[in-house]
């Protein structure tokens, strides 16, 4: 158990010689991560170091939490329980023993490595290296390394969107790019959107040229930034950009005042970007039918309800009749259909036609077996036994069944109106098949 803690202790100093800025950032992230772990592991290891500093520590800590989770709960009684604990201890301690050279894992980052990684430049120009570059030198670099993609004047739209364009002298004066608020320009250029000069410097420094990032010298980065600003009309032709006048140049950027922080993304109580007030109070709009079938086209394909598959439920409405003017729920429609067909069943005296209409005869021949038994056989079997065979057949037709005539089931026919079922059942029970 404590062995695993020792592992942490050896890992801890690995990345500690970070510069103070970096360390502050790392520590903030790690503290959250270790907070979870220490709360779960502290009953077992009260001496866990509580001020971890390294990023590696953050990686190792959740692993410890997992180990803790896999450890069985504290045994209550018996030798089995203590064996479990012993094995769990061995497992945890085994991590340390399985890696005897754990102390050799990693090494302190060298100052040179940290210097190579630590290249970010912030809006307050923290991290900006000393140097300077002229517009003229920037033009040389631009023409040799930047022009192929960005165009001679930063205007090219072929590989990337333009770097330069649509900023005016008035924008430089006000610090707001007017073109951002109009639809007169086809797209936004880099210089239109740029509000922090450090971003341009940092981006060119770390990412440009695209095929050889970080290949520009510090002075050349200054020079290219100066040239880009010169192309945009921000600085004159003889301008020399350096770490001394970055802030002064920042104060000339066309969009320097274009960034807002008074909204919900930045401020906790800020005004959110999305206003959902209308939707929150009255979201559901009234449903209006915006499209309907014209009356003359309703029966263009005949009676849709008569054009169903032979098996399964009956779908569709009788399109030979005019469309209902009011919406009728499905349940009401079904019961209407049932009562409607009761009247037709009483008037339509031919149950053989009903049997054909409801597709009984698809599976049942009158005198021959198809999928189900012949109706004559059904008649013989049931009518010979019972006087109330019709009632039994009604149940069999309505809810289906299997076994009486073999393993092939008869599906439930509950979509057929009750009156029709009764008529068919009585027809079969009577056995008068012409």
């Amino acid at each position: 158990m404590f062995k695993s803690v020792d592992v942490f202790a050896t890992l801890r100093p690995v990345l500690s010689p970070l510069p103070s800025r970096e360390r502050a950032r790392v520590r903030g992230g790690v503290r959250n991560g270790i907070g979870r772990v220490s709360s779960s592991i502290s009953p077992l290891t009260p001496t866990l170091p509580c001020r971890p500093r390294s990023r590696l520590h953050a990686l190792a800590a959740p692993a410890a939490a997992r180990m803790r989770a896999e450890t069985p709960p504290t045994p209550r009684k018996g030798r089995g329980g203590s064996w479990l604990v012993a094995s769990a201890l061995f497992l945890i301690a085994g991590i340390g023993f399985a890696e005897p050279n754990i102390k050799n894992l990693g090494r302190p980052a060298t100052p040179a490595e940290i210097k190579a990684w630590d290249i970010d430049v912030r809006p307050d120009f923290a991290g900006l290296p000393k140097g300077s570059g002229t517009v003229a030198r920037g033009q040389e670099v631009w023409e040799s390394k930047c022009e192929n993609c960005h165009g001679a004047f930063g205007e090219s739209n072929e590989v990337f969107t333009p770097v330069i364009g649509h900023t005016t002298k008035d924008d430089i004066r006000t610090g707001h790019v007017a073109a951002l608020r109009s639809d007169t320009v086809p797209q936004r250029t880099t210089l239109m959107k740029l509000s922090e000069l450090s971003v341009l410097w940092d981006y060119i420094n770390r990412a440009m040229p695209w095929n050889a990032p970080k290949s520009l010298s510090t002075d050349d980065v200054y020079a290219v930034v100066a040239y880009v600003l010169n192309l945009g009309g921000v600085v004159p032709n003889d301008y020399v950009l350096s770490d001394k006048n970055m802030q002064a140049t920042q104060n000339q950027l066309p969009n320097r005042n274009g960034k807002t922080r008074e909204h919900g993304l930045w401020e906790l109580g800020g005004k959110p970007d999305v206003q959902g007030s209308t939707c929150m109070t009255n979201c559901a709009p009234k449903v209006t039918i915006s499209s309907r079938l014209p009356d003359f086209a309703r029966n263009a394909h005949g009676d849709i309800s008569a054009q169903n598959r032979l098996l399964g439920g009956l779908r569709g409405v009788d399109t030979l009749r005019p469309a209902p003017t009011e919406f009728v729920p499905l349940a009401a429609r079904v019961s209407k259909g049932a009562t409607g067909s009761t009247s037709t069943a009483t008037t339509a005296v031919d149950p053989a036609k009903l049997a054909a209409q409801h597709a009984c005869l698809t599976c049942h021949g009158i005198a021959n077996k198809i999928v189900g038994p012949a109706l004559i056989d059904v008649h013989k079997k049931y009518a010979a036994q019972k006087s109330d065979a019709a009632k039994l057949l009604v149940v069999r037709i309505k809810s289906g069944g299997s076994g009486a005539w073999g393993s092939i089931p008869m599906p439930a026919q509950d979509h057929v109106p009750d009156a029709d079922i009764r008529a068919i059942a009585e027809w079969i029970a009577a056995g008068k098949f012409q």
Partner: protein, 104 residues
């Protein structure tokens, strides 16, 4: 008056001067309509002339097919460092613009 042109003239190997020009112009074709459905009147560069020490080295006629803020590259033989290259254009509204650069 339109924004100034950006002109760059460089002497290359073999005594060839390469000139690149960015002309800031709206280059409206006369075939677009605004949101009210009215035709936006044509407003584009019609003629471009480039001179080197007073001698015309390029003359061109631009039409509605040329893009907004057109970039033009051309080269001519001769030229020496310090010579002046002057590029000028006139557009359909009669506006004119003339800018010069020194061969580098």
């Amino acid at each position: 008056m339109a924004d100034p042109m950006r002109i760059r003239a460089q002497l290359k190997d073999g005594g060839i001067t390469e000139v690149r020009v960015l002309m800031a112009h709206i280059m409206e074709t006369g075939q677009r309509k605004d949101s009210a459905g009215n035709v936006i009147p044509a407003h584009h560069i019609q003629t471009v002339t480039a001179t080197w020490n007073g001698k015309t080295v390029l003359s061109a006629q631009f039409g509605p097919a040329v893009s907004q803020n057109p970039v033009m590259n051309f080269s001519f033989k001769g030229g020496a460092k310090g010579d002046k290259v002057v590029v000028s254009w006139t557009d359909t509204k009669g506006d004119k613009r003339s800018d010069e650069a020194v061969i580098a």
